[in-house]
Symmetry: C2
Subunit: 213 residues, 2 copies
């Protein structure tokens, strides 16, 4: 399914890298561990990194009820939520053509507060599963007082677009014969051996040992 | 050296994680491969991922002269530039206490255009070196026409703060004896074997083979 471009999501430059494909947009949202949320406080833009999770066609953000970002968003201000995956460093023969392979999503909209208990519980599960798929089988679920202490907002994935660069460097024809190494250095988020907390005797779960995104 | 807190940089919550230490702020800026730049377009916040580099007490951003983000910033609007390093997933016994280890910087200010040729050349080198330290020894430097096609802006690192979380989960006392694995899954950006571009015969440089940030 293709989302409808808007003035905010239409790609102005390098439009060939742009996409409105919802399947691609959702895949980037799901793979990205965190997002960066932009909003205004007294007319000044603020960009805050935070965890997110997707359920269906909504992105959920959460935090303490006193969290300044969530309280600002809850006032119904415009937000831009950006997810970015860096896939590789593109080293060209010329400094000018150096680039980066990436997949990113920009999602615009206004967040709304979620008060429904069932939706809140499902979203909290989704947030834990977003960080570590399988974890909700083990972790103690939120108590009623923890639910009350947590503010949950959602943004619909309706006004969004993706941008993707793949492939090698694109050098000028004149530079192609220079005796310079050029290519792509792929990069990815990797996870090392887990460090158990003090006093833990339970074995390391499979979803931690074999963690991947 | 400590930066002076402002209304925009003072930490409102979890202030114990906050810092105004310039050495720490610079270290996070340097280690972060990319930043997320927030600014307003017609009153709407926009958050764009981009490469940055630091020279001394300034952060440099660059792109094509037609680049919408740079053109917006060049009009002297407020910007928030955020760098985020995710260091680990913190899996607590309770869903509620799940967290993340991270180091982040938020830098506020207004960017100014750099026209001085020497400063531009130094900043372009710094941008290439930020991506791959050592690369400027090999890459063909920018020609005059490439310099003209590239818009360079800088923001002073004066109104900035860092936020850092480290360590294991902090669970409720009542949950400590639950038979649940809890701990930290450290994460880091890693770099795989490089893929040479078509026709490259030069050997892979050391700074690519042994790449680290």
């Amino acid at each position: 399914m293709q989302l409808t471009p808007t003035d905010r999501t239409r790609h102005r430059r390098l439009a060939e890298r742009g996409s409105f494909d919802l399947e691609l947009i959702n895949a980037i949202i799901d793979e990205a561990l965190i997002c960066h949320v932009g909003f205004n406080v007294d007319g000044t833009p603020v960009v805050i990194p935070t965890i997110h999770a997707r359920m269906g066609n909504d992105v959920y953000l959460h935090g303490a009820v006193g969290n300044n970002m969530l309280r600002s968003l809850d006032r119904g201000v415009d937000a831009c939520v950006t997810m970015t995956l860096v896939d590789g460093l593109v080293l060209a023969r010329s400094a000018f053509h150096h680039s980066m392979n990436y997949r990113s999503v920009m999602l615009f909209g206004r967040a709304t507060k979620v008060d429904d208990t069932d939706e809140k519980r499902a979203a909290f599960d989704a947030l834990v599963e977003h960080v570590a798929a399988g974890r909700t089988r083990d972790a103690r679920p939120p108590r009623a007082d923890e639910m009350r202490k947590t503010l949950l907002l959602k943004l619909p994935i309706t006004e969004a677009s993706a941008k993707v660069r793949t492939g090698g460097p694109v050098d000028d024809a004149d530079d192609m014969d220079m005796p310079i190494w050029a290519g792509v250095l792929p990069c990815t988020m990797t996870f090392a051996d887990p460090t158990p907390d003090t006093g833990v005797i339970a074995p390391v779960p499979d979803y931690v040992t074999n963690y991947s995104r």
